[in-house]
């Protein structure tokens, strides 16, 4: 799926990186707005009303995290972080501030374009009325709390369902361990990561074709989990 004419804001101080992003995104039909500083980026985000933003963390004036915070104060637009920082702590901070995705430098443009498309698709379809998700041969109706796999009903326990629903709410995005634990079990369990290990295994056993090589409930090691939706080759009717 392409997004003709979608405007992408790039907040990045390195001109050489902006240059190839401009060429590559331009070639794919995106409109590009460039900002070289965090201050400029925050302003351009409000004046140009882009469809999404790509933000570097190491900016000359202040941290890219602050740009994310400022944008999140008024907009749900997809934000992809582009950073040379590889530590998990840095990624967790970006996700918890509201970033949708995180790509470490160096990166291939193919990877970035794929993530941009996922983010834009999510933004386009993430309407409050979307209550069903398709995970390969499984369908889940969030509202009626029903799960089907290959036409047969699958029983999810209430906790399993809360986890699926929490991940589905942020479909395609990384939900950190802390966010997931807080939302499902409450803040007093925010560091009981082993709950997630156990429940995600159960969920994968029920919903994934190959639980060891999951295609939907993706592990982001040291950070959290991500639910990736997929369309079937031959779309069937969804839900019950």
């Amino acid at each position: 799926m392409t997004h003709p004419g979608a405007t992408v804001l790039i907040v990045e101080d390195e001109p050489e990186i902006r240059r190839f992003l401009r060429s590559a995104l331009g070639a794919e039909g995106f409109k590009v707005v460039e900002s070289a500083t965090a201050r400029r980026g925050a302003i351009d985000a409000t004046t140009h009303k882009p469809d999404m933003a790509i933000i570097d963390l190491g900016l000359p004036d202040y941290d890219g995290i602050d740009v994310i915070r400022q944008i999140r104060a008024w907009s749900p637009m997809p934000i992809i972080v582009l950073s040379a920082r590889t530590q998990e702590s840095s990624k967790i901070r970006a996700f918890e501030t509201g970033a949708d995705d995180y790509i470490t430098k160096p990166f291939g443009i193919g990877e970035l374009l794929a993530r941009i498309r996922v983010a834009l698709r999510r933004a386009l379809h993430a309407t409050p009325t979307q209550h069903t998700i398709t995970l390969g041969e499984a369908d889940i109706d969030i509202e009626s709390r029903a799960a089907m796999r290959a036409g047969k009903a699958v029983h999810l326990t209430p906790t399993e369902f809360r986890i699926v629903a929490c991940l589905a709410k942020h479909l395609g995005m990384v939900v950190t361990h802390k966010q997931l634990l807080t939302e499902v079990w409450g803040p007093q369990h925010a560091s009981d990561t082993h709950y997630l290990r156990i429940y995600l295994k159960q969920i994968r056993d029920k919903l994934e074709v190959d639980p060891v090589q999951p295609r939907h409930f993706i592990t982001e090691t040291g950070i959290g989990y991500r639910l990736v939706e997929s369309q079937r080759a031959t779309p069937g009717t969804v839900g019950t």
Binding site: H155, T193, H194, R197, V212, G222
Partner: protein
Amino acid sequence: MGLLRYSLHMKGAHLWIGYASATGLAATSTLIGKLMAPRFDIVNIAMVYLLSLVVVALCFSRGAAILSAVLSVAMFDFLFVPPQGTFTINDVQYLLTFAIMLAVALIISSLMETRRRHDRQRAALELQADTERVRSTLLASISHDLRTPLAVMTGASSSLVESGDKMSRIERNALASSIYGQAREMSEQVSKILQMTRLETGGITVDFDWASIAEIVGSVLARLSERLARHRVVVLIPKDLPLVRIDATLIEQALANLMENAARHTPPGTLVQVRAQCMGHEMVVTVEDFGPGIPACDLDGLFSKFQHGASERSGVGLGLAICRAILQLHKGRVWADKLPDGGIAFRFALPLTDAPLLPATEAC
């Protein structure tokens, strides 16, 4: 300061032996002096004390030498210098004897101090030279492994700039693809070098938490899907495998290095098998490949830094050294076994701890 540091440096036992010997030798000299006293001149008795002092100064610390000097002077004065039985001195020339004794103790002990310091410095220099050697091996290895991709990238990109117009689209694409491939290769190597440096300098904080090995295997397979695309990968993990308390990111890195290693050293189409099982108090994770293997004598050296397998064409030989460093941080171990039919099994073992408290079970 130097003295203080040296004293602190010395083993406590050695220090006490020094003081005890100083006291003992002073007492022995006194005994000898008492035996000599009727027949020998008092100056010769002083010589006996001087001799014991020299021995102490040569063998022990400056403190022991000073103690020896003080004891010798005190005993000599009290027992032999008239009036005996007091510390009073009648003849001023004995003051000179005392001064000389003290001076000899200080001179000899400071000479010995200097010599010991030189020895320590020489040892430190040798250690430094050793580190230097390792570093230069690393540098040689890095510069070889990084220069090759850099040469390709510089050559291919300059060809595109200078004569891209005269090339066919296919040629241009091939050059650009090779730049991309080499850049990725190089990026991986640089990450490994950085990782090894962080592991060695203690720049990594190990974040222990409960993790599932099955999940980590899945994550590694997803990460290396491209690299493993031409191999058949089989995962054998029991359903009831317990959780382990590890730094999942680091263990994922270790496993990824082993898998990548298997992919790199075995021909396409061969099997790569990943297993995990509990054995006693450990969880053992195994990556088996069915490639040409390596001579048995190389197995132990594999995990030292910069060791390259015989068939290795590229790659800073750091992957396995990183594995070893990561497993050391986990109080685990990593090793390699030759498989009977030619392949090689890389294994690592993680200590198993008591299972964590589970969430309250819910009604289904």
